[in-house]
Symmetry: C2
Subunit: 125 residues, 2 copies
Amino acid sequence: MSYLTEVKWDKNGLVPAVSQDFASGKVLTLAWMNEDALKATVAEGRVVYWSRSRKSLWRKGEQSGFIQKVRELRIDCDGDSILLIVELTEPIACHTGRATCFYKRYQADSWLVTEPVIKDPTDIY
Amino acid sequence: MSYLTEVKWDKNGLVPAVSQDFASGKVLTLAWMNEDALKATVAEGRVVYWSRSRKSLWRKGEQSGFIQKVRELRIDCDGDSILLIVELTEPIACHTGRATCFYKRYQADSWLVTEPVIKDPTDIY
């Protein structure tokens, strides 16, 4: 599959993959893919990462049910990072129950939480 | 500076940093920051990365003049990646003269170029 040869995997066989909500434009999550994760994402049309902590494929939403359908899969000029433009079943991408993992904003030498919890994580997992 | 202690640098002292155009919502670039780059970004209010190839601070736009003013600086739930929401002087973020580095889209087992060259790179650098 020729698209795989253009990806410049790092020495651990990974590339960072950023997801963006097609509807809101919000940047959601930065996670990682290996070759198997990218192949599964293409084959299944949904976001599949490689979990570095669990050392296994991580089908986004496998526990929460909030799967992310891939609308566009993009690669950057250097071939060493991936952009996933996704459609959400629920507007929640973070394990904290927030819309995005990037919910803390720099202000006055600290990080302020700026996004509300939409759903209590104990009700999700 | 307390904001620095919340960042989980990798074993090379880096975190991935994604930039997004405030005006268009486009995801522009994925690059890297070390502590000095993050401090410089905060101090100067513009995007400063760490160039892994040159092993030096990389003030985005230092050659092209297309600096990126930081409107929001965000960190994710795990503290191991950064989101920069930026204002552009020109709508060009990629060294190829395109709006975004993510200009290749997966289609039928290959990557198709979907974004035009706005300005010839030989006129930029």
